[in-house]
Symmetry: C2
Subunit: 197 residues, 2 copies
């Protein structure tokens, strides 16, 4: 079976190429915003032809989605198995606090890609990333507040960190990000007060 | 100026016609859902020609928007100047409780029109109805919890009642509306606990 052996380096190559293109796209987004991400600009930044970018991602939407998946995966690893307080090893209240700040910063770092890829109303709560976050936050709520309706309260907590809301507050209304972060802590202070007194 | 006098009865007529068409549309929505609202069905239900409906509302989107404005106006009157506890006359915490239940029921009664008319992400927080609700809830939060960031907490409270979220919970996940309503009370119990102990 000569092809199996022959394929292995090609696959590793493809993985490396894909990562290099995503890194180039992420850097373009960081430096010039999501609008700067085009098939051409990513190809140029990565030093490859436009055809290579098309073969990997199809079109610009595919590229943006892959970029979000990539960022999302790093964020998920951090809150599921990364170091505390975002990852496991401290009590649930502290992890909730850390989760909110990390999500706010994650969304701010990628905010225009999130806005460009915002799902339709019908899919807003069913996209996998939202469901993973909800499962995680509901588990922490269940641990921190055993008598709460963790499913509902997790939605409330996540909604207060919604990328479209925070974008509205920070970019349109001129609210500072530290104020939004303080609001997250204040919300948790109020919700966790029973446990702490 | 003969036209000024001549115009008055026409205007009153137009207002009555518009109200009659909106009532017919609202009844169709209640009985058969928003999908049953078409220019033709509303014309037939109100006993007028399709041209009359077109002249008043332009197209189906204009009709849906007018229908929402109509419902929205009634809801706003109720929470701004209606009888307590939704309207003024009781303490802010009790009004917040009543507001959440009233908004949940209002959105459920019109949920498929809201979903059909859901604004784009960029406009979700800037549509007038959302801004009126936010101003109202922020004022109640300021009165009930003077040390809170009322602007932020009002967004959190409103997000927990978001029509797209509640639709996701109730219609897709099979959560009961009473459970969502209990979640609203529980959220306020936790937030207002400092004031009450």
């Amino acid at each position: 079976m000569p092809w199996a052996g022959a394929e292995t380096p090609l696959r590793a190559d493809a993985v490396r190429n894909r990562a290099r293109l995503l890194e180039a796209a992420a850097q373009l987004a960081t430096e010039h915003g999501a609008a700067a991400i085009t098939m051409e600009s990513v190809a140029a930044a990565a030093g490859v032809g436009k055809g290579t970018v098309s073969r990997r991602f199809g079109d610009r939407n595919g590229l943006l989605q892959a970029l979000l998946d990539h960022a999302e995966q790093q964020f998920q690893e951090a809150f599921i198995s990364g170091p505390p307080p975002l990852g496991p090893g401290v009590e649930a209240g502290a992890r909730l606090r850390a989760f909110g700040l990390a999500l706010l910063r994650h969304e701010q770092a990628h905010h225009d890609i999130y806005l460009a890829a915002e799902p339709s109303p019908g899919r807003r709560f069913t996209v996998p990333a939202r469901q993973v976050r909800h499962t995680h936050v509901a588990a922490l709520v269940r641990a921190a507040l055993p008598d709460a309706d963790a499913n509902l309260l997790a939605h409330t907590l996540l909604s207060s960190l919604d990328v479209v809301l925070v974008d509205h507050l920070v970019r349109r209304n001129g609210m500072s990000l530290p104020r939004v972060e303080a609001g997250w802590h204040d919300l948790l202070d109020r919700l966790l007060v029973v446990e702490r007194t």
